[in-house]
Structures are given as C-alpha cells and as structure tokens.
C-alpha cells in the first residue's frame, strides 16, 4: 500500500446484510499499527426467561451516521494515535447469534485501540438514534439502553 495514502479514515456503514468480522478488521489494518482491537455485539436468544426469536433494528439513518462521525472525532481527540476506525451496524432483521454491530480500531500500540473501542460502543449506546425490537414467541418489546443519555433525566 502507498503509505502516503494511509491517512486516518473512518469507515461507517449501516446495512441490512450480514456483517463480516473479516471485512471490518481488514478496513482498519495499517502498516504502522501494531494493534487492531475489535468489538462484536451479537444477539442473545433469551431475555427474562422468554425465548427471543430474532431482533429487528431501525435507525434515523442520516442522524445516526452523523452521531457516529462525532464519536470518531471524539476518539481522535482523546486518543490521537488512533489510525483507522470502522463501525458497521446492521439494520432490519438480525437472527440469533449473528452480529448486530462490529467496531474495529487500529493504533500503533494496543492501549489506545482497546480504550477507543470501549468508548465507541458505550457512546453509541448513549447517543446514536438506532432502535432494537426483540421478537418473542407471543409478543415483542422495544428495548431501551440504560446508557441512553436522557434516560431518567426527564420527568
């Protein structure tokens, strides 16, 4: 790869097709980075004793992409050595055990990419306008992240 083209990049994608760990991690690989850290959010098959059939995600897509861009900007301010950031989130129906979100970050040394990945998923859960519906056998439920930034603040 031409090193002059290896400028820090953010790879943000919301899509309905199955996510690929290989694809997302390859996006952030960089010749001067010794670390790629990864987070994969998968779907559990149960909630409070109920069997989860599948999940459905929807998003305010244009705003979600903007909020994710802000997270990437925050990461680069807090951890300036971070090289590339990739965040892929699935929309629509997600079957059990498949990934709903994959985050990958590269940096020269491991501490920054590990911390940045954690910041990324925690902040996504608090600020990005994406919603998850759990489908059970007889009913469904719109989930609410405890991290949601206005939760319990408005009454």
């Amino acid at each position: 790869m031409d090193e002059s083209e290896d400028v820090p990049k953010d790879f943000i994608k919301l899509k309905s097709e199955k996510l690929s760990v290989d694809e997302v991690s390859e996006l952030v690989i960089s010749p001067n980075c010794g670390a790629v850290s990864l987070f994969i959010g998968t779907t559990r098959n149960n909630f409070e004793g109920k069997k989860v059939i599948h999940l459905e995600y929807e998003a305010y897509t244009s705003m979600a992409e903007m909020e994710i861009k802000k997270i990437c900007r925050d990461i680069r301010q807090k951890w300036p050595s971070v090289k590339h950031i990739a965040m892929h989130h699935r929309l629509g129906v997600v079957p059990i055990t498949e990934a709903s979100v994959i985050i990958a970050v590269s940096s020269p040394h491991r501490t920054e990419s590990l911390e940045a990945v954690m910041y990324c998923i925690n902040t996504l859960k608090a600020f990005v306008p994406i919603w998850k519906k759990e489908i059970y056998e007889d009913e469904y439920s719109w989930k609410e992240n405890k991290e949601c930034f206005w939760a319990n603040s408005e009454k």
């Binding site: 244009s62 705003m63 859960k125 306008p129 919603w131 609410e144 408005e154 009454k155």
Partner: protein, 108 residues
Amino acid sequence: RRSPGRRRRREAEAVPAGHGGSMRCQVTVLYFARSAELAGLRSESVSVPQRLTSLQLWEEIVKIHPRLAVIRDQVIFAVQQEYVLLGDQLLVLQTGDEVAIIPPISGG
C-alpha cells in the same frame, strides 16, 4: 441543504413563544420505533408556529396523534438532527425543517 455553520438557534427575544406574530411553517415530522407504532405512520408534513418551546411543539404533535401522550416522559426531539429535550427550550423553526420523535434508543 443549509451550510452547517449557519447559526439557527438565536437568543430568545421579547416576543412570547407560541405567539410570535402567528407566523407558522411546514415542518417534516419523523416517527421512529414505538412512536411510529402509536402515530401509525413514519413521516408527515405538519404546520406549526415558527417560534415555540420544545414542549409546545410536543403538544402540537399530540393534538394530531393523541396516542403519543403515553410516551411523553420517555421521548426527546431531534430538530435538524440536533437533540432537544422536551421543555422550555425556544425553537425557531423554518419550513422544511426536520423534527424527529426520538424514543429511548437501543443501538449496539
């Protein structure tokens, strides 16, 4: 599309909110998740006063879709893709602005 740097939320002036010269505008209201189920649709064009508080804006929308009242304590707005809590914040809206009802989020 407007340039990102343009300031849209000006200092509140002496005109009381909700009465600002009866000037109204057509905004696009977007409904998501539970709010889309309660309203029965995902988007519509709504006439609202140009100057009003975020709480008054909520009340305008609930007049059209009374079933939304049950989620009042959980939702916030996104006006032109900036989050706004329901309350006293003065909004200055323009025709074509996007107002989204944001129920508690659950991404990731």
